[in-house]
Symmetry: none
Subunit: 131 residues, 4 copies
DNA sequence: GTGGTCTAGACCACT
DNA sequence: GTGGTCTAGACCACA
């Protein structure tokens, strides 16, 4: 499966599903138009209540990541221009600041941190290229 | 005040307090040995339930960021060697990956993203230098 | 074609068909006595499940908009006096109230809203005139 | 209560709740900052499952109509500038067209229809004025 | 077959 | 006390 769910985690299961799908799409593991497992199917595979899966799918649809065709199933949507661009850019900046704080307590110096970031970014784009 | 709390936010108020203090310490706004307001003082200033403040202080103490001297108050602790280094490094990497996903949906290209990161990092260290 | 169907929409496909035909008739695009495509024809054209088309035709027949002549096909019916006049007037009023609520959140003022309504109404009747 | 719910209706209960609250706010029956009944309270009053109420409240929060303060309850939010303005304007236009179609089958003439619209609009604004 | 909705009942974190 | 989440099981409309 293109994600894993930890029922012990403090983050809600449906959130883990949402993030998992978003990441899989971003990584190119799930491609536009590809069919997602049906709510019941997925529920059976990961032994999670169907309602929980459904909630995740609805959230993903609201975010425009997937779309459901009535009676046929849910599919990865074509990438639409995103809404709330500013909001999301703020979110990225705020995540970066949290990283800075954590790095401070880890006593990472500027150089090490930047190197880590560069490596992560380059890896990401290199892995996507092949898709 | 060296932080602000948004009761409308979906993140718990006590978490906002914890993060706020950690950030203030990391930024050098709160220095080692500096006294924090008492639970009651702070509760009065920001109109938050004292229990919530107390919970945040407990969490901060558990993380070794602050320490309570009985009868004297709570103070910013000296920076101790961190525990769970690996765990925290993982946390940073995981936050970076989340950033990658968000950046993907924002369609930031590699160059732009790296530039944003560098700017953030450099700003951070430059601002700390002066402290 | 005198209508379009969006499989991604949250409104049922058969409902979209029903509404589409009703609108086409009201606009004069489909005239009394005009033959509609057969279920199979239409299904082939718009790649929709024939059962769905059939359901829409049944609904339209029930509403008296079209009629089926056995072996000959389905045709736009002559306009009969409507049933449930009161019910439908209520429906219009209720739709108008929904518009008011939406307009409120859009902060449309009275004048703008009335102007929009007048324009819509006049356009509608002007376009019908030519038919 | 400032709304009523019909469990026999074909429109989902949670949708009726959402629309009811939106209308009450638009009409000024619910004012900014006013507290809504708690999920459990309301569930008891209208004998509807708490989950259903919660779903409605969440939808309303997503739309920015209400906001929840953790552990304290849910309140009518201050009116923020709306998002998706274009989308909503389209929605209004589309509702107006549906009205035109219905009016056609009711054989309302232009004058009658416009009069009805004007009356509705004026009534609405007159009733709000007093608030 | 699909997803959408609802109920009943439970547990949890937060204030 | 509040809302948030999850499970279990059920019914429905739609394609």
């Amino acid at each position: 499966m293109w994600f894993d769910v930890d029922p012990r985690s403090s983050v809600a299961i449906y959130r883990q599903l949402v993030d998992g799908v978003k990441e899989a799409v971003a990584r190119g593991i799930l491609e536009t138009g590809e069919k997602l497992p049906s709510v019941r199917e997925l529920a059976a595979q990961v032994t999670i209540n169907p309602n929980t899966i459904a909630k995740a799918y609805q959230e993903l649809e609201r975010e425009g990541i997937i779309e459901t065709l009535r009676g046929r199933g849910t599919f990865v949507a074509a990438h639409k221009p995103q809404k709330n661009l500013e909001e999301k850019e703020k979110a990225i900046k705020s995540m970066l600041e949290k990283i800075m704080v954590e790095a401070y307590y880890l006593q990472l110096d500027e150089k090490t941190l930047l190197a880590l970031m560069e490596k992560t970014v380059q890896n990401w784009y290199r892995n996507r290229e092949g898709v």
